[in-house]
């Protein structure tokens, strides 16, 4: 018993360690956390996967053995006790019981006594001794003792079931060298035999990532930092993967339409699985466990932000790379993810509410020197502070928050309006006209002053177009006295704004059909466009990618579990509950009645192995019943 309890304490402590130390993380995380020395020490102790560590399994085995010994030693005794009635009780010892009653009898009848006892659920045996004394031995609640066998047998069965589902066999194979973990990314054909597990593998929990429309007949079994390839007795095909959403946008269900084909018999099964309803086939259960993008195809428009260039097209696929030359610079694109739904807290009325803002795609852009920035660009405009913007986030490291570039949507909710505006800024002829119109407002009659003014405005705008407000600010800082700086800066901003407005007016005069700027007033749009244009200098990329179209392809992450021990664990669990019920709620009672030949009265004695308050009352009740019966 002491041994078993020590083992149990060990299991308890190990379990606690397993919950405090995050299990199965990438090893780098542990190295960062503990340093090289402790990392290796903990690794040797198997602390990154406590529950599959050798010593943990060893403790489990010891527990099974010790509990088995305990049960096998005690059970025969208990079974014997079940049959045995102690008929050799002495008067003296019965009288010494705590619950012992002398009951006066007027007219004794054995059958009445037996009836009373059986009515109270006692089993009994009686015997008349040589001296003519009648002794009755009765008992009830024997199941309490069986409870001991049930619970402890249950512990054994559950532990064995658990061990069956552990990876003990694989561990042995690893030790003997017949199986080896693969640490590199290999094509299926290149995987050596030692890295493949056949169908005969007794139990496993393996993963499979399936693209829509794809089929696979092997799964991946993760092990430490590497993996094994697990062969399956069937081929799994994914027809479709769906995510459904609540109206608030939170995910409601993940579903995969599967086709499973038995390799031997060719038997086909079609089933839709989701998170709480897996598919079991040939003893292997297939679960919906995760999902990711499966290579969505994106059709993008490439807008050059810093020239009047026409748009160009770019076709890309998630997890693929693209290369692009912009303004004589090479940019390398890695498209990493596509999200069809994005739930953000958006202000609607006066309240922030989680809202689906539509698709976005996530990509990294590397320049020639290898520096990368990460971008997340949304397809549709979002409402921010009562205006509608196309939004794209940029960050330099995954730890940072995104900084957002916001380009105003035009009157049609499209990006074209802003892009026209950008094109106008970059068209010298039109810009020149606009500046002239602004100058003419201040100097209607022209002259030399107006010429000077024109040159000043022209300079301000070239500065702005080259590098945004900060470029102008720089020249103000270096050329003007401090007390004038703010005033001049404000007047420059105003001038830029006026020119912007004139640009649009000119555009509208030349394109009477155009409806991009049919706002009540262009005022706000011009201001937002200028801000957007200015921010584009901090975007880290001279182009804006607009998502025009996509073909959504998803991958479903499946888990395949072969768990032959499950049956035993469940069986053991039922036994455990039964056993605990028996032990806790059944009161074992033993009772003796001695009727001496030469005595009218009878002697009643009761005992229980566990004294409880109720037993006092029970004993009293029985004695009173007897008194009543015989009086």
């Amino acid at each position: 018993m002491r041994f078993a309890i020590t083992m149990l304490c060990f299991i308890g402590i190990a379990s606690v360690i397993g919950t405090i130390l995050k299990q199965n993380e990438p090893y780098e995380n542990y190295i960062i956390k503990f340093g090289q020395f402790w990392f290796e020490f903990f690794e040797a102790m198997g602390l990154y996967n406590v529950y599959q560590a050798f010593w943990f399994l060893l403790i489990l085995i010891f527990l099974i053995i010790s509990t088995s010994f305990c049960v096998s030693r005690n059970s025969p005794k208990i079974l014997k006790e079940y049959k045995k009635f102690q008929l050799n009780a002495r008067e003296r010892s019965l009288k010494s019981f705590k619950h012992s009653y002398e009951i006066p009898v007027k007219k004794f009848s054995t059958s009445k006594l037996e009836k009373l006892l059986t009515e109270n659920k006692f089993r009994l045996k009686k015997q008349t001794n040589k001296n003519g004394d009648l002794i009755i031995s009765a008992k009830k609640g024997d199941l309490q003792k069986l409870g001991y066998i049930f619970t402890h047998l249950a512990i054994i069965i559950i532990s064995i079931g658990g061990l069956m589902d552990g990876n003990l066999v694989l561990k042995m194979q690893e030790l003997s060298g017949s199986k080896q973990i693969i640490y590199e990314d290999l094509a299926l054909n290149d995987v050596p035999e030692t890295g493949k597990l056949t169908n005969s593998n007794f139990s496993y929990r393996a993963q499979m990532l399936l693209r829509e429309g794809e089929k696979q007949s092997v799964a991946v079994l993760k092990a430490k930092e590497g993996y094994f390839i697990q062969d399956l007795p069937f081929i799994v095909g994914l027809n479709d993967f769906r995510i459904e959403h609540y109206s608030t946008g939170q995910p409601k269900s993940f579903e995969s339409d599967l086709i499973v084909e038995d390799k031997e018999t060719g038997e086909l099964i079609k089933k839709t699985i989701n998170v709480n309803s897996p598919l079991t086939f040939n003893g292997i259960t297939i679960y919906q466990s995760s999902f990711e993008d499966g290579g969505t195809e994106l059709s993008l428009d490439v807008w050059n932000l810093h020239s009047a260039e026409e748009t160009s097209k770019m076709e890309s696929i998630i997890f693929k790379k693209n290369e692009l030359v912009v303004n004589n610079q090479n940019y390398f694109f890695e498209f990493n993810d596509f999200r069809k739904f994005n739930i953000l807290d958006i202000e609607i009325g006066n309240e922030k509410k989680p809202t689906n803002v539509g698709p976005s795609f996530i990509y990294k852009v590397r320049n020639e020197s290898g520096q990368a920035k990460e971008y997340q660009t949304y397809q549709y405009p979002m409402i921010i502070d009562n205006s509608s913007y196309f939004v794209s986030g940029m960050r330099k490291t995954p730890q940072e928050d995104y900084q957002y570039l916001k380009l105003p949507a035009d009157a049609n909710g499209e990006i074209n309006g802003f892009m026209i505006f950008r094109e106008l800024l970059h068209s010298p002829q039109i810009l020149n006209n606009a500046i002239k119109r602004v100058v003419a407002q201040s100097f209607p009659e022209g002259g030399e002053k107006s010429q000077i003014y024109f040159e000043g405005v022209d300079r301000v705008l070239s500065g702005f177009i080259e590098g945004g407000y900060s470029q102008i600010a720089e020249s103000i800082d270096t050329t003007l006295p401090i007390e004038d700086q703010e005033r001049i800066a404000n007047s420059y901003i105003k001038i830029i704004f006026l020119v912007g407005k004139e640009l649009i007016t000119i555009y509208e005069l030349n394109n009477i059909e155009a409806d991009n700027f049919l706002f009540e007033s262009n005022h706000k749009f011009v201001q937002e466009s200028l801000t957007g244009f200015n921010d584009s200098f901090f975007y880290g990329l001279p182009i804006f990618l607009e998502l025009k179209n996509y073909v959504h392809v998803q991958s479903s992450g499946l888990q395949l579990t072969k768990s032959p021990g499950q049956f035993w664990v469940y069986l053991g669990s039922i036994l455990l509950v039964l056993g605990i019920f028996c032990m806790i709620y059944i009161q074992e009672v033993r009772l003796w009645i001695l009727k001496k030949k030469d005595n009218k009265d009878i002697l009643l004695a009761l005992t229980t192995n566990r004294h409880r308050l109720e037993f006092d009352q029970f004993a009293l009740k029985i004695s009173q019943l007897m008194k009543k019966t015989f009086n």
Binding site: G12, T19, N276, S563, V577, I580, Y585
Partner: protein, 368 residues
């Protein structure tokens, strides 16, 4: 007497009829398990109220008031803000707030009773606890209904996040307490049991007002299972019983040191009650853990994944198995076991709350 008899018959009839009516009207929305749970609930209530008359009154008033509330809603969630009775009394939020204010009050009354020994205070405290419990159950039932008013697909039983299960914890602990109180016919222990309930109420209030936790959220896919309807309540019967055991153990330890000794029940009775509470808790906790394993086998792909919550459930279980061994096998009694059961509550609380706070895992339904 005759009224009581009629009432009892009516109770049994309605416990059979209401589920039948539910089946008749709503069977197309239910799967077999849910039908089983519905009918099983009615039968369980009949069975329980056989042992416990007061339980009948509780069930009856909770159902009656919940139906009134549902009726007053007229299918419109906004009625909860506009309709007078709903706004101040029977909307789920107000009902739960009533619960939150009445439990601390009854704690106070229990202490008056413990110190003054006037029967009036004792009875008043019990009444308050009953009413608070009824309000809490009404709150949960109406919340269930409200979740369907938000949207049919959002609707779900309100035991799916930390806020809801804390309310459940208060209710179950109070019910177990009321049961023992009535069976023992002694009211002193309320002064201790209501402490833990009041602490939980404090948490609910903090959680509501600082985190807005009372908002009804739709269920994440992993929680959409009929197993939740059995697993969670079973777990909380376990937690509630362990909490009661610990509070009675505190009373035991005080009495053992001579504090309040003359006012509390005898040490033997306290010890026996602790044992009973732990026994009940152990059974339900065992069943809950097993059901959890069965559920996990269906949702996560394995009956046991050594997820922190599972692991801590095992630790709690081993702890109380140890307690029961010492008591049943070695026949140990006394302060040491009382201390053990108090520490048991600390472990249980960690499993219940600490795991959600400090450890991550698959059981991520209730984060702060």
């Amino acid at each position: 007497m005759i009224f009581k008899k009629i009432f009892n018959y009516l109770f049994i009839v309605s416990m059979l009829m209401l589920p039948a009516l539910g089946l008749f009207k709503f069977h197309q929305y239910m799967d077999y398990y849910e039908m089983f749970i519905l009918v099983g609930t009615g039968l369980t209530f009949i069975w329980m109220s056989n042992y416990w008359q007061s339980f009948k009154y509780l069930v009856t008033s909770v159902l009656a008031l919940s139906f009134i509330s549902i009726f007053l809603y007229e299918g419109n969630l906004l009625s909860g803000e506009e309709q007078f009775i709903l706004k101040y009394f029977l909307s789920s939020q107000s009902a739960i707030m009533w619960m939150c204010s009445l439990y601390p009050l009854s704690l106070l009354m229990y202490w008056f009773y413990l110190l003054k020994k006037q029967a009036f205070f004792g009875n008043f405290a019990s009444q308050l606890t009953w009413i608070a419990t009824a309000m809490g159950f009404i709150g949960l039932l109406v919340r269930w209904f409200e979740s369907y008013l938000i949207s049919i697909d959002v609707g779900h039983i309100p035991i799916s996040n930390l806020y809801e299960v804390f309310v459940l914890f208060c209710l179950i602990t109070a019910l177990l307490h009321l049961y023992y109180e009535e069976k023992m016919n002694r009211k002193e222990l309320g002064a201790f049991v209501l402490i833990i309930i009041t602490v939980a109420v404090g948490f609910i209030l903090w959680y509501t007002f600082s985190k807005g936790a009372d908002a009804i959220q739709p269920l994440v896919p992993a929680l959409q299972s009929y197993w939740m309807k059995i697993h969670v309540p079973a777990n909380f019967i376990g937690y509630g019983a362990f909490a009661i055991a610990a509070m009675i153990s505190i009373a035991y330890l005080l009495a053992d040191k001579g504090i309040l000794r003359s006012r509390l029940p005898s040490l033997i009775i306290l010890d026996d009650l602790t044992y009973k509470a732990i026994a009940i808790g152990f059974i339900f906790f065992t069943i809950a853990t097993i059901l959890g394993a069965v559920w996990a086998a269906e949702a996560w792909g394995g009956y046991w994944s050594w997820d922190p919550k599972e692991t801590w459930a095992l630790i709690v279980w081993l702890n109380y198995a140890g307690w029961l061994h010492l008591r049943l096998v070695k026949g140990l009694r006394g302060p040491m076991l009382a201390w053990w059961s108090v520490i048991g509550l600390v472990i249980t609380t960690f499993a219940f709350l600490g795991v959600n706070l400090f450890l991550s895992g698959l059981h991520s339904y209730g984060e702060l």
